[in-house]
Symmetry: C2
Subunit: 343 residues, 2 copies
Amino acid sequence: MIRRSRYTSFAAALLIGVSMQCTAAEWGFQPLPFKAPEPADNPSTAAKVMLGKQLFFDTRLSIDNTISCNFCHDVTGGGNGTDSRSTSVGVDGQIGGRSAPTVWNAAFLSSQFWDGRAPSLEEQAKGPILNPIEMGISHEASAVDRIASIPGYQTQFAAIFGGEEPVTYNNIAKAIAAYERTLITPNSLFDQYLRGDKTAMNEKALAGMNEFENLGCIRCHNGPAFAGPITTKGEVFYQYFPANRSIYDELLGLQEDDGVRTGAGDKTPGRWRVPTLRNIALTGPYFHNGSVKTLKKAVRVMAKVQLNRDLTDEQEDNLVAFLETLTGDFTVQRRPKLPDDVL
Amino acid sequence: MIRRSRYTSFAAALLIGVSMQCTAAEWGFQPLPFKAPEPADNPSTAAKVMLGKQLFFDTRLSIDNTISCNFCHDVTGGGNGTDSRSTSVGVDGQIGGRSAPTVWNAAFLSSQFWDGRAPSLEEQAKGPILNPIEMGISHEASAVDRIASIPGYQTQFAAIFGGEEPVTYNNIAKAIAAYERTLITPNSLFDQYLRGDKTAMNEKALAGMNEFENLGCIRCHNGPAFAGPITTKGEVFYQYFPANRSIYDELLGLQEDDGVRTGAGDKTPGRWRVPTLRNIALTGPYFHNGSVKTLKKAVRVMAKVQLNRDLTDEQEDNLVAFLETLTGDFTVQRRPKLPDDVL
């Protein structure tokens, strides 16, 4: 039996700073579509996806040829699309400040990065290449030169994008984004359940789903990716985190990173894009700083810091059982053959 | 440019012993469907698939608890659905006489086993459990007792199949078959090409596709799985192999195993079910005895022994490039938690 959620004042408080009104349909349970949406200016083709996959795996997009997109968003061998580290490692062994979010289903997010600063997969792809502690290329033209100097890439860019200078930074990003739109995990047990197969979820998982709704987790974690409603491009579904002060602030260092500042002074917490819960059982460690290793503890901390609730052991177990049903079908990614430096 | 195939007398000769007439549509190129067909008496549900997956991975279906279905048809870690051995290993280290065919897309075959002796996935699943050199259980009742004694299985069989004795050998096979129907690999580059994305295949692969049709490979390797037309249940699309005498008979031991005997005496070769070419680039070693390691050599041998043709190096390379486009999307299979022996 699933009851409607009860809303208390904290739910309203959490919504400060969110610019859109949500309707019931937007924040209810939704299955993950079998196909990701494509922007009108970057339609997918098999050739573009194959090119993007090569670029995603190519370490030549980093200053010392050591780091590829896949290095931090490992999709091989049933990979979870992250590096499973607390925070990621870039060129020269530099350690970043935030945990790599999974690339799986990023195509269903309305904004990219923990702080939502990129409105599309295309814009996201342009970031890490130029970030000095990630891939460390000095400027866009340098990345373009590297790719354009490889004959096997030249041919592909020319066939796919045409024009006099087919290799551009925008086109590199477009190809990578087209590949990333294939990295989706439909058909989870939860999705099968929503689509009508009532055998897909057991009693424990159903009890967890009920808790998820009644406690109010769903107020932020909704939509097809459990990352908030699909917004207009550029609008970010932000939430304060941690919304309540607790022992976890110090234990887990939750206030050491502000996300996007509100401008309201030091007494307000940072704002963050709501992260997806799809495949959450596989994508630990958890939170922007990777400070929590297990899903059960992540559930406990979230209930405390966002909802100011202390859960029973059974509630936690049920919520974990529910979240485990959000693991979808991963498509095996085989490392592609990359074009040689010279013919 | 794709021309219609030219048929010569050998093609007619190959068809001796095949009981159905094929129409052009049946043996033309066809994409792999996104969903496998289900028999009316064994509809799939999420719960049945989950049960079948557990049974597929459970070594308790072998006499000494060492061999599961997955042992010879490994689907984990991007596995190709075979054991990648020439011929398979069963209980007590016994070595079988034939190479394990891939379980991926077996749902699209009209008959199972190299000699086509099982008309369905359900009937196939019943074979290896009782085969003394495979899983070595002595009789059906013994397999049923083993599974029925495990409380976690009892509960699932009761919920799924009902009745007073829900654990039966038929129901074990039904659950395994339901799981196997999820092991399909749609969306290969070839399929994307057939569905209209002309960027999915390059010139080399297209030249290979042309050769495949013109040489007559398609005469037997047709239908959605390239394993012959979908036949009425129980009808097997047999072909003689090797159809022509050659040095390969001795080099590869091709005549040491007869497949299904024709009853026409020692001068005719054995008959075999036409195997699938889906994912053939990944499923070596090749042939019923696993005597050929590389796809290029398999192409050369097939052209010689079935079509009496000596291919050029370029023809072989093009055919390999074409066959590589038949690799589809594999869904990552994570080893399921199995029910404990006792509560």
